[in-house]
Symmetry: C2
């Protein structure tokens, strides 16, 4: 896999013939902008950056690279957290940033067909006039292509699903330059093998998504936010299990620890006590239908000892709250600029969430590691975010990460709920999947026999 | 693919050593019981029927069959409609009927782990005590394994999704006898390739599902049924588009034609006028929340000219209604015993549903073919069911089926919404999927190089 060919001047000329001179750069500045995602993995300069404008250009770049054994790393917005788009073996960095068109809004069908480079936030701005939105919301302005490639998820996934649940049809460029389509615009489909979900979550290692038809959701008429503060982490996470077990269809159910609540309150002028806190959102089409849900949430939180429960339907307050939650990581970075952070990402069956959180607290204490904890608790997903100030501390932080992953897999969960495997989780794949990893390798070999697509990801070296 | 070996007495002895004498039969009666599904395709006797009791036995049967080049056709309940489990090349019929255990109910997680042979209705009876159910409901008492293998769906799929949307983890026996697992009990997963959805819907041609962890839903506290009668088919199906477009979260949205409404009314003592009719169901957790939805449905139906709208929350009436709807086909068969029927199955984007239905009516008129029309209209899915009384009429009926499939694909839909490809839809795969069929064939070749798994299905000959 490492016996790749260099990007020679002749290759650059051939690439230029495919994408046009304005869509190619070998300038160091451009290469540096595509050397690293938001993770802590070592940057790696690509040899050339190309910005194709059409699916056929993408396919032709792959065809050339495949024939010449040159690695190709697809790039969306570079907002990944596990090194997913770092071009580890140099080669061609294939940015989808110039393929941003909305091709068709099928408003009556709650669908939209887009090119992969559009940011999901930008897309949702365009969709607002139709009263529709694409629900998965990872926070950063990830591209649709990147979200699909990593099966991204977020705060509202508890109600609306992850990226994989909100896509109906894809066009994909294969390593050998073939363009295929899979799925259809029908929401019901039973015609042969589900290739669509094979490409979703494959992190650009099996093909490059060049077009997607997404499933949209009507913007709810009413959104109500609830904040509940608990005396202890254990009580808060037990309340999460109870809220989910009640069958209540919450649209968000987030856990934040006491330190984060204090920080967000201070930095965002939010009225949040410095306590383990649950942030929830309820969606409804009618005023009559939101109140019973709010009452149920109140009752459950009270039962688990909540000291304070505050509900709001005020859009400004709700938006400030979620904006703050979405920018937790940046807020911590500003608050402690001397520190580097490892953002972990594991997910478990919801009934075992308290065990996972207890393990996180125990492992942090045992290793003498600090940090903060936020989680898409309604999904059993947590991001324990650990502070690193030295190489020695990094070893202890990695020990906590390792302990978390072990516990998550032991509890029937997964080493990654939404950040994908990339570089960071590759070592855990055999433990989580057993011999199914052999099958994944066989698929990779079948679809990308020369190993040119995003090499060095997903599989342990 | 057709160069298979026969099941010799020595093979029978080896199979007997794997599954035990009581779990194997070469008796003609047993072979006849597994020669045909509910479709009109020619029956084919298997050479031997085995009923393994464990995943290891399944794997060992496959391992032996693979080494000896003997076809293996998995069998659930035989309720398929496209010839999916007909053993076209004889060989081994592998019935999962004796693997029916519920291994674990994870009530707090809304999950259950089962063996594949359990019927979904039987499972739902067992789950009722936990207040939970497995929502996909194809009607016949299909097995969970069969539903997953065909990606079955049904009346409530419009709200709760198809089989593929309600499964988290699988154990699968591969053609070479390997047992793998894929997915996890975490509802959020982003760890590598989605093998789970590759096996779901593969109709037993890539592997045999030996265990499944399913996602469950709390039984709604309140269910309300609405029946609306329209002056014309066009008005009824336009109302479907409007109901869906309103964003109302209906749990069922079925269309039945005037003739079927009359028949169901007569045979089931239902108060249904002989008119194109929509049957709907709304689910809610609170009494306050169901009324606004009902009012919205009433308003939309009235806007599209509904002559009569009847809503009921009475469980007995509701159950009688859905029982009647689920048994439409049997009711028609009893009413016209001299007739054979072809049940078609196409699905389209909901906005194009009126065009599909208009095409169905036009094609039936053009070919002079009779029948009836029922559809999971909320999903854009329709089953036009056509009467056949002679070989000559069969040709005309097939012409209608062909015209329907062409129209569905032209409208951005699919040749099968929920019955799968089996034998009946294989010819349409290249048209629907283009060159992606080559990729499906490559997957088949990779996972089943000797072609022993359910040969003669999905791919055109």
């Amino acid at each position: 896999m490492t016996h790749f060919s260099p990007v020679t001047p002749m290759i650059v000329a051939q690439l230029e013939a495919i994408v046009g001179a304005r869509n190619l750069s070998t300038a160091v500045a451009d290469r540096q902008l595509h050397a690293q995602d938001m993770s802590r993995f070592a940057p790696q300069l690509p040899e050339v950056v190309v910005w194709p404008e059409t699916a056929v250009q993408v396919a032709n770049v792959l065809s050339l690279a495949n024939a010449q054994r040159i690695p190709v790393t697809p790039w969306g917005a570079g907002s990944s957290l596990e090194g997913n788009p770092i071009p580890r073996f140099g080669g061609i960095l294939l940015s989808l940033a110039r393929m941003t068109a909305v091709l068709a809004v099928h408003a009556d069908d709650f669908q939209v067909t887009v090119l992969p480079g559009i940011g999901y936030k930008d897309l949702n701005v365009q969709l607002a006039r139709y009263g529709l939105f694409f629900p998965p919301d990872p926070g950063a302005n990830a591209t649709i292509g990147g979200m699909l490639a990593n099966n991204a998820a977020g705060i509202r996934t508890v109600k609306y699903g992850a990226a994989k649940d909100n896509v109906l049809r894809l066009e994909v460029a294969l390593a050998d330059g073939r363009l295929i389509h899979t799925g259809s615009r029908s929401i019901k489909q039973a015609a042969g093998y589900d290739l669509l979900h094979l490409f979703v979550g494959s992190e650009g290692t099996l093909g490059v998504i060049t077009e997607a038809t997404l499933r949209l959701t009507p913007i709810p008429a009413l959104m109500s936010a609830v904040m509940a503060s608990f005396p202890s982490v254990a009580q808060a996470v037990e309340a999460v299990v109870a809220v989910r077990g009640s069958g209540l269809d919450v649209a968000a159910l987030e856990f934040i620890d006491a330190g984060t609540a204090a920080l967000l309150a201070r930095e965002n002028q939010l009225d949040l006590p410095a306590r383990p806190t649950l942030l929830m959102e309820l969606h409804a089409a009618h005023p009559e239908t939101i109140q019973p849900g709010l009452e149920m949430v109140r009752a459950i939180c009270a039962e688990f000892g909540a000291e304070r429960i505050h509900a709001t339907a005020d859009p400004t307050e709700r938006q400030r709250l979620w904006h703050a939650r979405h920018h937790t990581y940046e807020t911590w970075r500003r608050a402690r600029p001397e520190v580097q952070w490892l953002i972990t990402d594991v997910a478990v069956p919801i009934s075992t969430y308290p065990q996972l959180i207890a393990q996180a607290e125990a492992a942090m204490a045992a290793q003498g590691v600090g940090g903060f904890m936020i989680g898409h608790a309604g999904d059993g997903n947590v991001h324990v975010t650990l502070a690193i100030r030295s190489a020695e501390e990094e070893r202890r932080v990695q020990a906590v990460n390792h302990a978390l992953v072990q516990k998550a897999i032991e509890l029937g969960g997964t080493c990654t709920g939404e950040h994908g495997v990339g570089i960071g989780k590759a070592a855990f794949m055999p433990q989580e999947h057993g011999t199914a990893v052999d099958l994944m390798r066989a698929l990779k070999q079948m679809l990308d026999p020369n190993g040119i697509l995003n090499p060095g990801k997903i599989f342990p070296a």
